[in-house]
Amino acid sequence: MVTNLDFLKSFSKNDTSKMKKYIEMYLTTANEKSATMINAEKNKDFETLKIAAHTMKSQARYMGIVSLDSLIINIEHICNQQQETEKLPDLVKQVTAILAESINELSQVIKTL
């Protein structure tokens, strides 16, 4: 499991309609930003890649995806400095893999709400 919904449950006070609303928003953003990150990395568009990664940072925190934080911080740093950009393909691959896993997990969760 890459996600942990303890925070979201506590934040929503177990209100399932609110949880569903936030998870749906996350799923939309995660799908969209995954595609954006893959394309931006291919096109060496560091600014777009940095912005897409940044958007996912806080949303992933709320879904309890702790494994994303340091990877995203790395991407942001490399994009800002434009140094060691050869590391980006692997970082983006790892981030999008975690996002895909989180999308699968949360799509299952949403069915139970």
Binding site: F11, Y22, M25, T29, I51, R61
Partner: protein, 174 residues
């Protein structure tokens, strides 16, 4: 918790963040909350004189040419210096926080699980500050009224004494 009617602007291009803050504040404060996804929209509505603006530092996730939060902060403080602007950011870099505070931000909150409670605390602090400022205004006004009354009493007393003196002297001529 005492509820107060307040005008609040929430400026963030991240829909989920916007919705979560809105839901959290709605449960806790009596307020009129305006949501904007760009800083430019919020600037255009500053005539509403918001007490608090919660402003995202990065406002470029949808529109890359949008001005960033610090530029928007500067403009907001120019238009409405009394508005308290809380900067919200995914970055926990001290330099970013310092830059925001230097440009007039009331506080700086990092987007994380604890951000909501921090915002609530800041709201309460601002509320207390506003109450204190209001009381101070009343005390200042009261003090001015008191001073004016004392001056009037002194003038009246002086006039009374003068009149008494004049009456006594006029009596002397008789």
């Amino acid at each position: 918790m005492a509820k107060q009617e307040r005008i609040i602007f929430l400026v963030d291009d991240d829909n989920m963040q916007l919705q979560m803050i809105k839901d959290y504040l709605d449960e806790r404060f009596e307020m009129k909350l305006y949501e904007y996804t760009t800083g430019e929209e919020a600037i255009a509505n500053m005539h509403l004189n918001p007490e608090i603006v919660i402003l995202d530092y990065h406002l470029m996730s949808v529109n890359k040419s949008a001005e960033n939060g610090v530029e928007i902060l500067k403009k907001m403080k120019e238009i409405c210096p009394t508005t308290n602007v809380i900067m919200l950011s995914g970055q926990d870099k001290i330099a970013v926080a310092v830059e925001c505070m230097k440009n007039g931000a009331y506080d700086y909150v990092v987007k994380s699980e604890s951000a909501f409670m921090r915002i609530e605390n800041i709201f309460n602090n601002i509320g207390e500050h506003m109450k204190t400022m209001h009381l101070l205004k009343i005390y200042k006004l009261g003090f001015k009224v008191l001073i004016a009354s004392i001056i009037l009493i002194i003038i009246a007393a002086v006039i009374a004494v003068e009149m008494g003196w004049a009456t006594a002297h006029m009596g002397g001529f008789d």
